[in-house]
Symmetry: C2
Subunit: 208 residues, 2 copies
DNA sequence: AAGATACTCGAACGAACGTTCGAACGCATG
DNA sequence: CATGCGTTCGAACGTTCGTTCGAGTATCTT
């Protein structure tokens, strides 16, 4: 509907960014709990300890809240992945690194993952495209790592589906992982998922 | 909020069930498109070619629409799985059968899958528990199949996580599978996913 | 002290929501 | 024809929604 001021910032003051980040964290919590449509600005205000109208000093509206959460999530995923991969050249180790980075990141930001998974198609037009670009960049980065696992002519289409399945494994865990109750650490889980995918993927390549 | 008449049915007439099923199909389409909270009864009425108030002759309200869709989806999943597994004894073939059944079922009812994935936690109290029971029954059935793949003392906890990851792979495909555009048939995809999981899972068991 | 600027908020707006109600309709059975 | 029942619907109800507006407070510059 409304055009988002994607990156325009005019008036600020020291502490503005911090308070806005606090608002985004609180919003992600509410969005994760009841979904974008189910969340009311009044509840977000309560969670962020602001008044209802106070929110509109930091963002233009509900839509921008969702946009900022999703964009920031995928953007920092790409950034942290690039940083983690520096100096790692072994293909298997690169995959393990990517999975570890993914699980760690979402383990520490479960609310944001949930928002990105559930309400991916809620944004429209420019905002959707901006998020889509970051999301696509992240997918491509992981897809390339998967492709380099089997250098001998494997079709891109094949490794694309394998990557999609890998992401399914990684992203679904917010549906079953209970942060407080589970006995598995994030890194242990990442190692298990890496092994599961790696052996399955490479075994399949051999037989095909 | 309101107590659902979970299975009570009083007044009917020939054709009642068919029309109600038609309503549920239309509702699933709308829910899948814009989510439970984003869907309005007015849009559901338009999609089902009924008047707004006409809906309330077939269901008690919006909440029951979601309940009926989710319950029916998991219930028919359990039923069709049991039917498909009859006479299949080889553990690997049983897993392949389960995956094929899952992908086929959701390939043909993508809307319902989306509703079950996105709005699983929307229902409350009795309705939630009723759906949860069917969902748990389905998970347990697949979990048992996975457990039988590696009979030598593998911890239940281990195979539980593997099963969760398998479901992640299987359920995530609604996020990327474009029914019209994709070149992969449901059965081909199921075969790929079976191989990916099977080899990865069994290879891991050997090394542990 | 004076004034500008960033920030906060209570109150209210119009719109859209889920649901209800009573009047109509179609169509059997007496 | 009349009675009853399953079915359909337009109109309206009360509530909640996202957003706006103007007044008020805090903080800093000059």
């Amino acid at each position: 509907m409304t055009v988002l001021t994607l990156h325009a910032e005019q008036k600020r003051s020291p502490g503005f960014d911090d308070k806005r980040l606090h608002l985004l964290k609180a919003t992600a919590k509410v969005f994760a709990d009841v979904g974008y449509d189910g969340a009311s600005m009044r509840r977000i205000a309560a969670e962020a300890e602001l008044s209802l109208s106070g929110i509109y000093h930091y963002v233009s509206g509900k839509e921008e809240l969702l946009y900022l959460i999703q964009y920031h999530t995928f953007d920092s995923l790409v950034t942290s992945l690039e940083r983690c991969l520096e100096g790692v050249s072994d293909p298997r180790e690169r995959l393990a690194t990517a999975v570890r980075n993914h699980i760690r990141h979402f383990g520490e930001n479960m609310h944001e993952l949930k928002v990105c998974a559930r309400d991916l198609e809620t944004l429209e037009d420019e905002a959707y495209e901006a998020v889509r670009e970051r999301r696509h960049a992240y997918f491509q980065a992981v897809h390339q790592i998967v492709g380099e696992l089997a250098p001998q002519g494997v079709s891109t289409h094949h490794s694309w589906i394998a990557t999609a399945n890998l992401f399914g494994m990684l992203n679904w865990f917010y549906q079953w992982y209970d942060a407080g109750r589970s006995k598995v650490s994030f890194d242990d889980l990442a190692a298990e998922q890496t092994a599961l995918f790696l052996d399955g993927y490479l075994a399949k390549e051999k037989t095909s």
